[in-house]
């Protein structure tokens, strides 16, 4: 079992740094996870994306379709990559505390 430590944060993660216990997520965890994605500071745009993903996940148990994410946040894919360089699934979802996407994703 791998753990990720950052300041006072200590969480269980998989090999790629995705949270294994998504219920332990909070904004401080998001800030800590963001550092692993090369995002040192979460701007209001980052938070908008992260909260949208988080809320969708809490409601439906999975990440939304990427086009829905773009449409509802008003960010195009280019903007999403500018915010999270590893992209929506591997960057933004990780910071929002979702598990690593599985299957052909």
């Amino acid at each position: 079992m791998l753990t990720f430590k950052h300041g006072t944060i200590e969480i269980v993660v998989d090999e790629d740094g995705f949270m294994q216990e998504p219920e332990k997520w909070n904004e401080d965890v998001a800030k800590a996870l963001a550092t692993t994605e090369g995002v040192e500071e979460l701007t209001p745009d980052h938070w908008k994306l992260v909260h949208y993903l988080r809320n969708y996940f809490l409601q439906f148990g999975v990440a939304p379709m990427i086009r829905k994410l773009c449409k509802e946040t008003g960010f195009d894919l280019k903007k999403v990559y500018a915010l999270f360089p590893s992209g929506p699934a591997k960057g933004a979802c990780k910071v929002a505390g979702l598990a690593k996407p599985t299957g052909c994703v």
Partner: protein
């Protein structure tokens, strides 16, 4: 000693690993038809090397271990020594090959460097199907717990998880996504498409690669547009809606259980035919194995969505605007549907209709090159450099030579892989799309589907 390989593994029980490997090997031989396959290959055993010219992995890596008959030899060495009379006698005389953890480790690594594209089978003068022998070897490895974690986790969710699909999408999210796609299509294309869910007695139940519900809105909407426009009787099943079948890549036992879920959903909905979306391995898994595992002659028929679309186009039931797509387009044949010659011409008929500048790659069709992500490897993110620079090198060069700016890849695996291949090989300007993404742009929808322009409220 632990098994070391370049992909993630869940912890492997290494107690008496060679013994357990041989036990699994024997059990599979006893309960399957692989024994004659291995026997014929072991008797031929020529290793003439003709396959070197066919394998894109070997061509790019130059490594001897990537020559298909060398890979096959890893499995045959075990077969000869432990399962043939000659091997057993030779072992008594000393100096025989002995299976140890090192050999198992080598198989774990080398059998997963193959993309299961089976191009080598075309070249083998003995007719040895190296892809099948690699598949067998992976199955034995799986029985002792050696499976790439990415495949294992996805199959576990599909067979034992709450959602019963590889991307862990709950039914509520499926409904939300389908409603979103219907709305998005009205907004963007001004046509009404339907994604029917749980309609009893439909002719077809639709199983795309489930990841399409996260990543491929245009492919799915294009699929639904064709089905809606031609009045097809179809439905998505809320209890099982995933076409993906990683069992095809590592275990016939899982392959059986997964295709059986498709057949069961068909039965629940009182439907007659399985309609697979744009996905190569999902199509082959269902086409070849629903018959094997779900009723033989009485098994439901399996149709790929491209067969359906080509058929309604030929019969004049679907209208597409000729020449809608003006940029240069090429087509990538997914190995799992093209190697057998099953689906080669159908997508090209559609593309020649809607594209004004369609060019083919060389070679193509049955002789195509793999995208480099076949055999389940595309799901293994941690081997991306190998996939895109070695496995996908031949394909990148083929795409470059066509000068195309759009590559049509009607397969969820191939699409993901080719996007990464293009990014990693200086082809960032190339778009990789599904076939129905383009059909959606070219469809001349009947009046009944057209949404009146302007705001809808009022009345």
């Amino acid at each position: 000693m632990a098994i070391s390989c370049s992909y993630y593994l869940e912890p492997v029980d290494t107690r008496d690993l060679p013994g357990r490997f041989l036990e699994a090997f024997a059990a599979i031989l006893a309960h399957s038809s692989y024994a004659p396959v291995l026997d014929a290959a072991a008797r031929a055993g020529a290793r003439c090397g003709r396959c070197t010219v066919a394998c894109p992995v070997h061509q790019a890596s130059g490594e001897a271990r990537d020559i298909p008959c060398n890979r096959t030899e890893l499995v045959l060495a075990v077969y000869r020594r432990y399962f043939t009379l000659g091997g057993m006698v030779r072992a008594r005389l000393g100096n025989a090959f002995t299976l140890d953890e090192g050999h198992i480790s080598r198989m774990a690594e080398d059998l997963y460097r193959c993309t299961a594209c089976r191009r080598c089978k075309l070249e083998c003068p003995f007719g040895i199907d190296h892809g099948l022998i690699t598949h067998f070897g992976r199955w034995v490895l799986a029985e002792v717990g050696i499976i790439p974690k990415a495949l294992r986790v996805a199959v576990r969710e599909q067979l034992e998880g709450k959602t019963h699909n590889t991307s862990a999408i709950p039914a509520a999210a499926l409904r939300d996504t389908c409603a979103f796609l219907e709305e998005d299509c009205r907004d963007t294309h001004a046509i009404d498409v339907r994604f029917p869910i749980d309609e009893q007695g439909a002719e077809f139940v639709f199983f795309p690669a489930v990841s399409d519900y996260l990543l491929e809105p245009d492919t799915l909407t294009g699929n639904a547009a064709v089905l809606t426009a031609t009045g097809a009787s179809w439905t998505i099943g809320s209890q099982y809606f995933d076409g993906i079948n990683y069992g095809l890549f590592y275990s016939d036992r899982m392959l059986d259980r997964i295709v059986s879920l498709e057949a069961a959903e068909l039965k629940r909905l009182g439907a007659r035919r399985i309609l697979i979306g744009e996905c190569g391995h999902a199509s082959r898994a269902a086409k070849a194995f629903v018959k094997t595992f779900c009723g033989g002659r009485d098994a439901p028929e399996v149709v790929n969505i491209m067969e359906y679309t080509a058929d309604v186009l030929r019969r004049g039931l679907l209208h597409l605007r000729p020449g809608t797509i003006e940029e240069r387009v090429t087509y990538h044949d997914p190995c799992n549907i093209a190697r057998s010659g099953w689906i080669v011409e159908q997508p090209r008929e559609i593309l020649r209709t809607i594209c004004s500048d369609f060019v083919d790659m060389t070679p193509k069709g049955r002789e195509n090159y793999c995208c480099g992500g076949g055999g389940g490897s595309v799901s293994i993110d941690e081997i991306r450099p190998f996939r895109t620079k070695v496995g996908g090198a031949a394909k990148a060069e083929q795409i470059r030579r066509t000068g195309a700016t759009t590559v049509v890849a009607p397969c969820a695996n191939c699409k993901k892989q080719l996007r990464e291949v293009c990014d990693d090989n200086g082809l960032g300007h190339v778009k990789v799309v599904g076939l129905h993404d383009l059909v959606l742009l070219a469809i001349d929808a009947p009046a009944s589907m057209r949404v009146a322009a302007g705001p809808k409220e009022g009345a």
